[in-house]
Amino acid sequence: MFLILLILVQGISLDVYDTPNDDGSSITLSWSSDTLISSYQILRSIFPEHDFKEIARVESGKTTYVDTAVKAGTKYYYRIKGAGLDTVFFSNTAGPVRPIAQIFNLGRLNIAVCMIILFAVILFYISRARKGEKLYIRKIPALTAVEEAIGRATEMGKPVLFVPGIMDIDNPQTIAAMSILARVAEKTAEYGTPLYVPTSKAMAMSMAQQVVKESATKVGRPDWFNADNIRYLTDDQFGYVSAVDGMMVREKPATNLYLGCFYAESLILAETGHYTGAIQIAGTAMPDQLPFFVAACDYTLLGEELYAASAYLSQEPIQIGSLKGQDFGKLIFILVIVIGVITRLLGNQYFYNLFKTTR
């Protein structure tokens, strides 16, 4: 009897608590054991002494279990039965624990703070830009090249090819590409130079068509717009790249613009364009693809410069405002990094722990 009692207390030590930051629909159990146990039986009751029923079986190696079959507000007690080699081990009875619904997830407070700061900074600069304040943005060298390249195509009497990446319009890079496309379309419409925009997503096609059509109307050349030049080819990446390649070899555009979200097709496009002798300007925020654009194109917009370019070209207050807001965000990040490094150097972990996102 005495022996069994000893095992009962020492075999498994169980701890239960209301899962933090949830809707009161679960209780978390965690236990530790220093004996060899092949499987655990988890028992639950609403009474401290009796009526314990099995609610789950867990294999060895696990030390936590989340009970999701609970009602918020009810008190629960837990016990664990562990099957050892030839003995059965019990844990202490843990509880009572009462799951409570939280209104705000405190574990995500740091995310909320970060989001609010970034939103505030961005909105602040957007509103300043909207009020007509002139906000400075440094010149982006690759952009001047875009206009020159369109001029060159016109002189040669050859078309301009604009590839807006291969992702759909839920991708911000595609959207940035579209605002650059608007400016490119204005220029080409003005000069009467054909502009080809092959797309890999149906929605990107309809968007590109609308953007180009509007630009043509804006510069008084609605007749220039030809919906057939803005085509959806295929969703398949390689089907698409081979079709665009074929297009380059057949139509021989003098200027190729690759702006948007690119994957493996970046090099095959840039290399084929190089082969056909086109001037090539690229821009993407896909870090994996930048090296090939840098290697094989005449100018490259590196990463965020793609968004900056779209702002710079349009001189639209909203875009410029957001860019300035993001700049401020970068200053905050630098500051945070410096503080983080220094506090850690001084042996203070508090600041470091503020950035924890997973329990």
Partner: protein, 204 residues
Amino acid sequence: MEVLGVWIASLLTLAIYSFLYKDNPFYKVAEHIFVGISAGYWAVILWFDFAWPNLFEPLIVKGNMVYLIPIIIGLLMFAPFIPKLSWLVRIPLTFTMGISMALFITQIIQGDILPQLQATFLPLAGIHPFKVFSNLLIIAGVVFTLIYFYFSKEHKGTLGFAAKVGIWFMMVSFGASFGYTVMARISLLIGRVYFLLHNWLGII
């Protein structure tokens, strides 16, 4: 049938490689076969793996009317084919944008910004001197790269120097990416050559 399949696969492989010589009808035929087959494949898989079990079966077989909502929103994608109603395409667009952007914002903070900032607070004491050096380099590299992408000031003086150092870091990382990509491309070629030599010709 199996042998025929290997022959079809091999001939199509060679047809694509003929593009290396120049664009030609064989390549174009292969290209169009590929687009056609892939599109057909997508339709079938999308239907059987998702659209039927997750949308239409619950609606048609089980009569769960809630599933009408995503189907109707989805069908509005076809609105542009009726000129008068073409604006309705904005409903599925804004619906998907609203949801994906909102989730994106919270996830990028939770999954990217906070953990990556935290990972930059690297220890500089109590470790091997070379590790200190490496950690310093990482911290400096992150900061200077951020400075390169600072658009509010012209890159002159100290700022210009910092941006320049940022570019150096980026160039090393681009070089690394280039090296890796070369590796990727070669691997793909090896895969095809292996197929031709092994499955088709049976030499290896």
